[in-house]
Every structure is written in structure tokens, then in C-alpha cells.
């Protein structure tokens, strides 16, 4: 099994070229302030209309060319950390590695007379905290993949989903996390469409799974959970439902189960429509979006109503736990998944995950995470969590959101929007943000 590794990520948009990272690196690695000796190098791009900054830093390649051309065996990839380490006692100063690397990740430190490269400071890179603008991040999400990779995959191999869809990731991660003592409910939607309910008389999961109606998912699951409790077995009751099944026809059973505090985890995979059956609108479809029932033609310009904010409605059920999450922020999602599982032991836990739909939203299949990230960076989607004890608070606050057009233009379903429609959406984003912000302020009042 391959491993995933932590990495230093650079966001050029946030960099102002101050060079503090280089000073921090030079100090940490050479004990001097000589930024020429820093292993991270920032370059100002001249001639560009607005000043932008470029980066030279070792990427700790999976397939490192520096290692293959080293004649002395002085470079090696550490299989635990992923870092390409340099062994001074073997190096013969031939500089061949600098010819092999296409990224200027290893270079001559003229003062030392040897090559030098980033070693991520043993997992605690000095440059990252030194950046005053948050342009450098040490991304440790890999730890999740390594840990989860060791758990049993409870979903069948193979997949019948659309290319680039993030729902497989959600299903596999969630099932691995909840473990084998689980009963899973998957009402009609993309999740069964992808195979949870199985083929040819076998289930698509290694845990018991059933296929309730759109309308009665939460009710059926509540009954099953109670029966297991009665016979003295502790099983995890888990529903993975679409937004249609949760916010429209399935809402009364969902609301009822939440109100009664049934012990279950209800996960909604929100792709903002009935995508599995041909991309019809749901009450979670946003204003202006094209769907097959809110078409774009001479008079119709996409959906004319705003989306229902289902997770906020769930907060008003005072559930044991309510949170929104995004697969572009896996660490955040995982923390919430853990809390939701814990809360579902005693009450109703609700997790609302935004799930960009390559087919229905019309964007290239390699851009799912990018679209999910843009939704958060523009505040179109807000990531927060709620418990009755601590109220509501943001987990990824975005203080300086990008214009919503950055999100809208990332996909085809908004291509037709008039400037008035865009304005409407931008206004709604601000309004929603204020609304949720007010709830965070009231959180501790009582």
C-alpha cells in the first residue's frame, strides 16, 4: 500500500514577497540571516501588471529524479515521512542532482560548498509559521489517508458513479470510520446508484444495507436501531441520503426522528438536486442554477427561488450535533465525523456535506475539489458546527471571501446568469453569512 505524506503548500495569491520564510529557513538551517542559503526561495515576477510571486522548493517527489541520478546513493526517500533526505557523509559534491531536478528543489549552497534541500524540518517546517500572510501551509491531511487506509474498506470494489464525483470518497471514508457494526440506510439517489444496494442479489457493502423509500428513511432506520437496542446489540445506525430525499419528500420523517432524538447519524450528500434521476431541481438547488426542470431558454433563466438551508433548520431541532462539511477540507470533515458518531450514541447527529456534481453542475471531472474549495472560499457554503451546549461556531471562517463569481464561473450550470442574477446571488451570500454570524453571536447567550 502506498502512503500519503504531509506537504508544504504555497498560495501565491497570499504572498507579498516579504521573504520572512526565507529568513526563518536560513536561521533554522544555517544559523545565519543569509536568505541566499534558504532552502525555500521566493521570486518576484517582474513585468507582470500586479506583482506576483514564484516559488522554488523541493516537492519531495514520489518519483524523485534527484535520487535516480545521484551516483553516491546520498539521496533517498524516507518511506515514513516521504522526505527526500540527503546524507552528507555519502555525498561527493558532484552536483548531478541539481541537473536531475526540474524544480530547483536541490541546489548548491555556495557558502557550505554542498548541495542543500528542504527536509521539512522533521515535520515542523520553520518557514510556515514565519509567514505573516498565511501563504504557506503545512498540509497534514495525509495522516487521515494513512490511518483510514489501514481500516477495512466496507464498500464493494468498483464503482458505478460518474467520473470525478466525490461521493465515493464520502462513502468509503464514512463506512471505514463507522466500522463493521453498522446498519446503513441509503434511500434512492446517487449512493444506491453507485452500488451501495448491490448487484445480482448481493449487497454493495460489507455491512447490512437497506433501501428505504425517499419518504421514510429516518423512520425505518429509527425502528431498526430501536430493535437492535431492545435485543442488546450496540450498532451504529447510519443514513447516507441525498438532498432531495432529505429536504423534500423525506423531510417529515427526518424532522420527526430529529425531534425525538433518535440515536443515529444522518449524513446528507448535498449535490443540490435530484442528479441520479436526470438532474431535476430540489429545494436545495440554488437560485439561478440550470437543472432539467429549471431550464434555460427564452424566458426561463434557471431556478427562480433560493435554496432552503436545511442544516440551519436542523439546528432548530436542537439536535445533539449538526455540522456542515466539504470534501475539500478533509481534516475538518473528519473531526466532524468523529463528533457526529460520538453524538449519535446518545442522540440525533446530522452531517451535511456539500458534494459538487460533475455531471449535473457541468464542470470537468478533475475539478471536483477545486469547485468544493471555491464554494467555501466565496462563502457560498459555510463550514460550521453546532451543539446545544456550545451553540454554533464557524470551523473554517472566511473573513475575506472571494467574489461569488469565482465560484459561479467554475461550472456550466450558472453560465447563462445575467448580471442581475449574479448580483442577487452575491447579496444572498452576504445575507446568509450575516444570518449565520448572528447565530454564532447568540451562541453563548443561552
Amino acid at each position: 500500500m502506498g502512503r500519503a505524506y504531509s506537504t508544504i503548500a504555497f498560495d501565491p495569491a497570499k504572498c507579498d514577497g516579504c521573504g520572512d520564510c526565507m529568513t526563518a529557513c536560513a536561521q533554522a538551517k544555517t544559523g545565519t540571516d543569509d536568505i541566499a542559503r534558504s532552502r525555500i526561495q521566493i521570486y518576484g515576477r517582474e513585468g507582470a501588471p500586479d506583482k506576483t510571486f514564484e516559488l522554488a522548493l523541493c516537492r519531495q517527489c514520489a518519483d524523485p529524479k534527484c535520487v535516480t541520478v545521484c551516483p553516491a546513493g546520498a539521496l533517498n526517500k524516507d518511506s515514513t515521512s516521504g522526505v527526500i533526505g540527503w546524507d552528507a557523509s555519502k555525498c561527493v559534491d558532484c552536483l548531478l542532482c541539481t541537473v536531475g531536478c526540474a524544480y530547483a528543489g536541490i541546489a548548491l549552497d555556495e557558502t557550505a560548498g554542498h548541495v542543500s534541500k528542504c527536509d521539512t524540518c522533521d515535520g515542523n517546517p520553520a518557514c510556515v509559521p514565519a509567514c505573516p500572510h498565511g501563504a504557506l501551509k503545512y498540509v497534514t491531511t495525509a495522516n487521515i489517508y494513512n490511518e483510514v487506509g489501514d481500516w477495512e474498506d466496507l464498500f464493494a470494489p468498483g464503482l458505478a458513479g460518474c467520473q470525478g464525483c466525490n461521493t465515493e470518497l464520502l462513502m468509503r471514508h464514512t463506512l471505514r470510520r463507522v466500522g463493521p457494526d453498522t446498519v446503513l440506510a441509503t434511500p434512492p439517489g446517487c449512493v444506491p446508484g453507485m452500488g451501495s444496494v448491490g448487484f445480482n442479489g448481493t449487497t454493495g457493502t460489507k455491512v447490512p444495507v437497506f433501501h428505504p423509500l425517499l419518504t421514510n428513511t429516518a423512520a425505518m432506520l429509527a425502528g431498526i436501531k430501536r430493535q437492535y437496542k431492545r435485543v442488546g446489540r450496540d450498532v451504529q445506525a447510519l443514513a447516507i441520503a441525498g438532498d432531495g430525499g432529505a429536504s423534500d419528500v423525506g423531510f417529515q420523517s427526518l424532522s420527526g426522528a430529529a425531534e425525538r432524538g433518535e440515536q443515529m447519524l444522518f449524513m446528507v450528500v448535498d449535490n443540490e438536486g435530484y442528479m441520479n434521476t436526470g438532474m431535476q431541481r430540489s429545494s436545495c438547488t440554488p437560485y439561478g442554477a440550470w437543472t432539467s426542470t429549471t431550464p434555460v431558454g427564452e424566458t426561463s433563466r434557471g431556478k427562480t427561488q433560493d435554496a432552503k438551508n436545511l442544516p440551519l433548520i436542523m439546528v432548530n431541532h436542537r439536535c445533539a450535533y449538526v455540522a456542515t462539511a466539504s470534501t475539500a477540507y478533509m481534516e475538518d470533515l473528519y473531526e466532524k465525523l468523529d463528533k457526529a458518531i460520538a453524538a449519535s450514541k446518545t442522540g440525533f447527529a446530522y452531517l451535511h456535506v456539500y458534494s459538487p456534481c460533475t455531471t449535473g453542475w457541468r464542470f470537468p471531472s478533475n475539478l471536483n475539489m477545486e469547485v468544493a474549495r471555491k464554494a467555501v472560499e466565496t462563502n457560498f457554503v459555510m463550514l460550521w458546527e453546532y451543539t446545544p451546549q456550545d451553540g454554533l461556531h464557524f470551523t473554517k471562517p472566511v473573513d475575506d471571501p472571494l467574489p461569488v463569481t469565482d465560484y459561479l464561473k467554475a461550472m456550466g450550470r450558472f453560465r447563462h446568469l445575467s448580471s442581475e442574477q449574479v448580483e442577487h446571488i452575491q447579496k444572498k451570500v452576504v445575507e446568509n453569512q450575516k444570518f449565520v454570524e448572528r447565530m454564532t453571536e447568540h451562541a453563548h447567550v443561552g
Partner: protein, 422 residues
């Protein structure tokens, strides 16, 4: 005893850079197919390039190996040292080894590299001399250097120069005899070569360029050399470093076409079915010419080895070999020289040089008529050779940036890298 003939899926002859990269590439795509490595050498894999440092004592012989037994076990590779290829029967998909045994393969990679080319100087058979290509050569030379008072190095290529530096540092009086009229020709231009020559002279070495040895004979010291102009030299240590020739004697009668090296296409396949070749023994497309060239350098051996491995395993991710680009780095007396690309100025092209006598920084950049970089050479001027090679391979038009680029190839190269192939 009746020996069963061994069958293997991938047979690799040679155990150096080209071979090791091919193993990596095969295992990326085919985790299971049996791989057998047969090699002439008696050790675990090591690089010829590290040998000058074994000679100087900087590298401990026990620590130069590029792979260990465990690597071969983990990768399901059967590693057979002292099993050189004697003959190839491409029509029967089989090879004969020096120990008389045979191996039948599905796919064969010839990665047998090169050996020192011994010039046909009259009398050369009558004297004892050193070469430097294998670990055993290096160990022998290391012992001899310690004893030497009066050494002669034939050939001023990088191998000869490295050895000469070691000899100088070990305290011997050293004479370098080179036929052409500059040192390191083919790697560095006259200006750079003069800087290298000066460094050697400053350290006490004697350099005789434009000199041909016409006769060798034994003498009480060891060997006596007679030059074309009648001068004679005495040597207690003679190192022959006048170039290399590919190891391909086993091809005789196999039908595999070869000229200076084994001819291969852009996927490293030879003219025979199921036979590939890569590295110093192969003659492949050159980046700057349409003809096939020998580009006997380490980085190219790894690139060719990878292409060959991918082709042998049927990896659909394979891309055609882009052609050999000369790349050389050279460290001498604490200074360094780097050369990337062709030293020829293309038609309509332009050469830009700058030289700072005070600091000894020298830079030369060559641009084609289309504004693309075709070569860049520096002494004591560090730039990222890998970035430069990409600029050449990607044919990046540098016209708008030329002045800044020549002033600071390190910074501007990195800027372009970060913008274009981040």
C-alpha cells in the same frame, strides 16, 4: 548434470543506472513479472561516476552501493553477479552467459554500458597501466596512487581530470597528456577549459595539450612514453582515460544493428524483436540532431532506462524519448563547472557571454534563431541544470527575458519554472 534452462519474463543485462531505472519502471507497471538481472560485475550495483571519490578516499567502498540485497528480494528480482552476457540469440529469445549457461527471456534489455577505449599506441601491451570504470579498477588505482611519485594521465576528459586531481592531492607529480588542444573538450569551451587548466597548474600539475603519444615501452620506473615531438616522459603510474567504447561484443551474429553503439528507436527498442537497449551502450536520437548519437552520461542513462522499462512492461503512460541533451557537472579544486545543452551555435543563433575576472564567474548562453536556449555553460556560476534542461527540452522562447536571464539565470530560470511547470 543436466541444467534446466532458466526462463524469465524480463532479462536485464547490466546492473548500473540504466538497468536500475528500467527495474523501477517495470515494477511501476508490472508488480509480479519475473525479472532477472545478469551482470558482469561481481558487486552490488554502484555508479562508475562515484569511482573517482573511491580513488580519493572520500567515498568508502562499502558505502557506494545503490541497492542492497533486500531491494532485489522485495522487488522479486533475481540478481546474478559475475554472469556477463557472452552471446545473444535474438532469433531464439535466448542469451548465453560467460559461465556457459543460457537464459530464455520474453523481453531483454541491454544495459551493458561502456568500457575504457584503449588507444592503439604501439607498445601499449608491453606496459602496465590503469583504467577507471569498475570498482576493482578504482581499488587498484587507489593503492597505486598512494605509492606514485610521478604519474601520467593520458586523456583530459572528465575521468582523466578527476584522477589527475586525486593524484595531485596525494602528492604525486602529475602530467596530463591530451591530444586535442584544450582540456575537457566536448564538455567545456576554451574559456572554461583555460580556467580549469589554470587551477591544475596552480596546484602543480603539468599539462601537455596538443600532444600525441607515439610509443610506450617498459622502463625501470614503470613506463616510458614518447611523444610525437620526441619528448619522453617517465611514469610510475600510467592512467589511460582516452574515452569509452560501448560493451556490445555479445552482439556478433545476433542481427541486432549497431554502429558506434546499439541502434535504438524512440522507445529504446533495437532492430530485433523483444530486445531493447539503454544507457552508454545505446545509440539513440540526439535532441539537437536528427542522427543517432552516443550521449554517454549518467542522467541520460536513467532517462533511457526508464523509457525502455516502460516499453518492455507495456506501460501506456510511456512517452517517446525526447533525444539526448548533453549535461555535465564538474567539481575541481573546490570550484565547479556546469554545462547543459549543445556547445554548437545554431544557424542564426546568438552567443552571449560574461566573464568577471575578479570573481572568476564565467557564463555563456547560446540561443537559437527562434529565441530558445540551446546551451548554457558556467564556471563558478551556479544555476539549476535541471531547470535549464527543461527550458531546452520545452523549447521555451526566452526572447522577452533574455537580458534578465543572462544576468541571473538562477533566479529567472526558477521564475519561469514556477510559472510554467509548477
Amino acid at each position: 548434470m543436466d541444467r534446466a534452462i532458466e526462463h524469465t519474463k524480463y532479462l536485464i543485462a547490466g546492473s548500473s543506472h540504466a538497468a536500475l531505472e528500467a527495474i523501477n519502471a517495470i515494477r511501476m507497471h508490472d508488480a509480479e513479472g519475473p525479472i532477472t538481472v545478469v551482470t558482469r560485475d561481481s558487486h552490488l550495483p554502484y555508479s562508475p561516476t562515484v569511482l573517482p571519490y573511491v580513488v580519493s578516499g572520500k567515498s568508502a567502498p562499502a558505502r557506494i552501493f545503490l541497492r542492497d540485497e533486500d531491494f532485489f528480494a522485495r522487488n522479486k528480482v533475481s540478481y546474478r553477479p559475475e554472469s556477463g552476457l557472452k552471446a545473444l540469440h535474438a532469433d531464439r529469445n535466448s542469451v548465453e552467459l560467460v559461465d556457459g549457461s543460457s537464459v530464455v527471456y520474453e523481453k531483454l534489455l541491454l544495459a551493458t554500458g561502456a568500457s575504457p577505449a584503449i588507444p592503439p599506441i604501439p607498445g601499449i601491451d608491453t606496459v602496465s597501466y590503469h583504467v577507471l570504470r569498475t570498482l576493482d579498477d578504482a581499488l587498484k588505482l587507489r593503492g597505486a596512487i598512494a605509492e606514485s611519485k610521478q604519474a601520467v594521465v593520458l586523456g583530459a576528459g572528465l575521468v582523466g581530470m578527476h584522477a589527475a586531481e586525486n593524484l595531485v592531492k596525494a602528492g604525486a607529480s602529475v602530467t596530463i597528456v591530451e591530444m586535442s588542444d584544450q582540456l575537457t573538450s566536448g564538455y567545456f569551451d576554451k574559456v572554461a577549459a583555460d580556467m580549469i587548466e589554470q587551477a591544475f597548474r596552480d596546484a602543480g600539475a603539468k599539462i601537455m595539450t596538443g600532444s600525441r603519444v607515439v610509443r610506450l615501452e617498459p622502463s625501470p620506473a614503470g613506463a616510458k612514453l614518447t611523444l610525437e615531438n620526441g619528448t619522453t616522459l617517465e611514469a610510475d603510474l600510467l592512467l589511460v582515460a582516452t574515452g569509452v567504447k560501448p560493451n556490445m561484443g555479445y552482439l556478433n551474429g545476433s542481427g541486432v544493428e549497431h554502429q558506434q553503439g546499439i541502434l535504438v528507436d524512440d522507445r529504446m527498442q533495437t532492430t530485433a524483436a523483444n530486445v531493447w537497449a539503454a544507457g552508454d551502450c545505446a545509440q539513440a536520437r540526439g535532441f539537437f540532431t536528427d542522427t543517432k548519437v552516443m550521449n554517454a552520461i549518467l542522467p541520460d542513462a536513467t532517462i533511457q532506462g526508464r523509457v525502455a522499462g516502460m516499453a518492455m512492461a507495456g506501460d501506456p503512460g510511456i512517452q517517446d524519448y525526447a533525444g539526448g541533451v548533453p549535461l555535465n557537472t564538474y567539481h575541481f579544486f573546490g570550484r565547479h563547472a556546469i554545462s547543459v545543452g549543445s556547445s554548437k551555435v545554431p544557424e542564426g543563433g546568438e552567443v552571449v557571454t560574461r566573464f568577471d575576472e575578479q570573481t572568476g564567474h564565467y557564463l555563456k548562453a547560446i540561443f537559437g534563431a527562434d529565441g530558445c536556449l540551446t546551451g548554457i555553460f558556467g564556471v563558478n556560476e551556479f544555476f539549476d541544470g535541471g531547470v535549464m534542461a527543461q527550458l531546452i527540452l520545452r523549447r521555451t522562447d526566452l526572447t522577452p527575458l533574455r537580458e534578465r536571464f543572462v544576468a541571473n539565470p538562477l533566479a529567472v530560470g526558477r521564475e519561469i519554472m514556477s510559472q510554467t511547470w509548477r
